[in-house]
Amino acid sequence: MTAHLLRRTGQALLVLWAAFTAAYLLLQAMPGDAVLIKFQNPELGLSPERIAEIRSYYDGGGYLHTLLGFLQGDFGYSVETGTPVLDRLAEGLPATAELAGAAFALAVPLAVLIAFASCHSTRLRGLLLAVPSLMVSVPVFLLGILLVQLFSFRLGLVPVIGGSRAQQLVLPVLTLAVPVSAPIAQVLARALDHALAQPYVPVVAAKGASRSRILWRHAARNALPPALTVAGLTFGELVAGSVVTETVFGRNGVGRLTEQAVDSQDTPVLLAVVVLAAAVFVLVNLLVDVLFPILDPRLA
């Protein structure tokens, strides 16, 4: 168990290091002078002291320097504003965490509802199983636009501008929850089907267990691990969805920052975002891996 944990952690660190290296080679491997010229652009209005500070950062230059910086939480300077990348990330992170957290919190019960309903009702089954396929086929930006159209302009339920914090959050969260929920629902439904076909099901049924008891007590426990794996993998969808959702709804978060960074070729910001996203993805999936033996003692 400990050996497995150590090996998995080592693997995760290796993947993360490789992700950093690849992203660095692609994005940051331009000569230091090219970066510095961008900072000297008078439109940025940087003070000479700030330019000297940035110069000393990039003069030290090179791969190892940047890697050490990242390990210490120093991500360099944004080419667009001349401020530390860390500050810009910290500005956007609360809004994105709020959006992504709420969307995930909504996506999981939604997925569970769809999957369990499809096992309960044989009549609606086909229809219910088609729902996740539809959910993954709608582009996130389109969904956001359609929700604004319906709830803000047609029904007038959510104000387009202004409104309370909760009102501003409801449509983006709904938009982001849909693509995250769909793969979880698909895998959970399949895993439940598989679990219900196992020989222990007729046994507990013969002992007098009701359909819902079989489903919730017995099948659910066995269907959980695959669903958990997919839930970990949907983290990528959560990040990509945040970029699009924040752009559609004009929310200032890390997603919006990413989009702006691409627009203005702000490679230091993009590098930090890519490495951060990979780090969280690797961490989340490591956590899922560690949780596995706890959920299913057979794997311990």
């Binding site: 690849a22 086929s137 582009p139 359609l146 691409v262 993805f281």
Partner: protein
């Protein structure tokens, strides 16, 4: 469900190949007096802010969106299959190296990977397609490797080696054809995924340049008229969803 999926895709491909058969309107120049008309018998999908026929723009946009998806899938399929084939056949160090590299690709969310490639190559239809394709390399490589490893252990491959086949000959005659089925199903699925991803990049402004009709760009252009003209975003959106759904359905059948 079988026929509608095939019909939808066939129709979309025909739109891309011979758009003139389906619409007589010009996708690029409009009649300003006819701006923002709702759908009617004359303009099936209505008209946009400069009086262009939206249906014509969607039909002509098929060429942009579908050829982009084809390029994306080709990039993913060729690179991914080659890497997976090499890893699965060679085994050992190369296998480990290639597969860890794929882990790295999978650890970065697809859209971020695509945006990184776009920062490198610059925006544009072809670059966006390549960017989306790079994102699907890992999926193809993993699947191909798994299939190759499965086929490699089978008796007929052993027999082919035993009867004097060289590595390349056995790969080409036995391993590749027998590994290809699931890979083709994945290619169908990835076509839908690519249409989706390309429309997202188009929406964000990294794909085709206006006034080129591209599906994501069409929806983005309709955003400014949400309050008054629902058709500008909804109808091109329905087309995108239909094509993506059909590709997913097709992939399920091929599996």
């Amino acid at each position: 469900m079988r026929a509608p999926a095939w019909l939808t895709l066939a129709l979309a491909v025909l739109w891309a190949l011979v758009p003139g058969l389906f619409t007589g309107h010009d996708p690029l120049s409009g009649v300003p007096a006819d701006k923002l008309l709702p759908p009617s018998a004359e303009h099936w999908f209505g008209t946009d802010a400069v009086g262009r026929d939206l249906f014509a723009r969607v039909v002509h946009g098929a060429a942009q969106s579908l050829s982009g998806a084809a390029v994306a899938v080709a990039v993913g399929l060729v690179l991914g299959t080659l890497l997976g084939l090499a890893a699965g056949t060679a085994g050992g160090l190369l296998d480990g190296l290639v597969m860890r590299l794929m882990d790295v690709l999978l650890a970065v969310p697809g859209l971020l990977l695509a945006l990184t490639v776009i920062v490198l190559l610059g925006p544009g239809t072809v670059n966006a397609a390549v960017a989306v394709g790079v994102g699907s390399v890992a999926a193809f490589a993993r699947l191909t490797r798994a299939e190759v490893v499965r086929v490699r252990g089978s008796d007929y491959v052993e027999a082919a080696y035993g009867s004097g086949g060289t590595v390349t000959a056995v790969l080409r005659r036995h391993v590749l054809p027998n590994s290809l089925g699931p890979v083709i199903a994945l290619a169908a699925l990835q076509t839908g995924v690519a249409v989706l991803a390309l429309s997202t990049l188009g929406f964000l402004g990294y794909g085709a340049e206006p006034p080129t009709p591209e599906w994501g760009l069409l929806i983005a252009e309709g955003r400014d008229y949400l309050a008054t003209s629902w058709w500008l975003t909804t109808l091109p959106g329905v087309v995108v969803v239909a094509v993506v759904l059909a590709a997913g359905r097709l992939s399920k059948e091929l599996r």
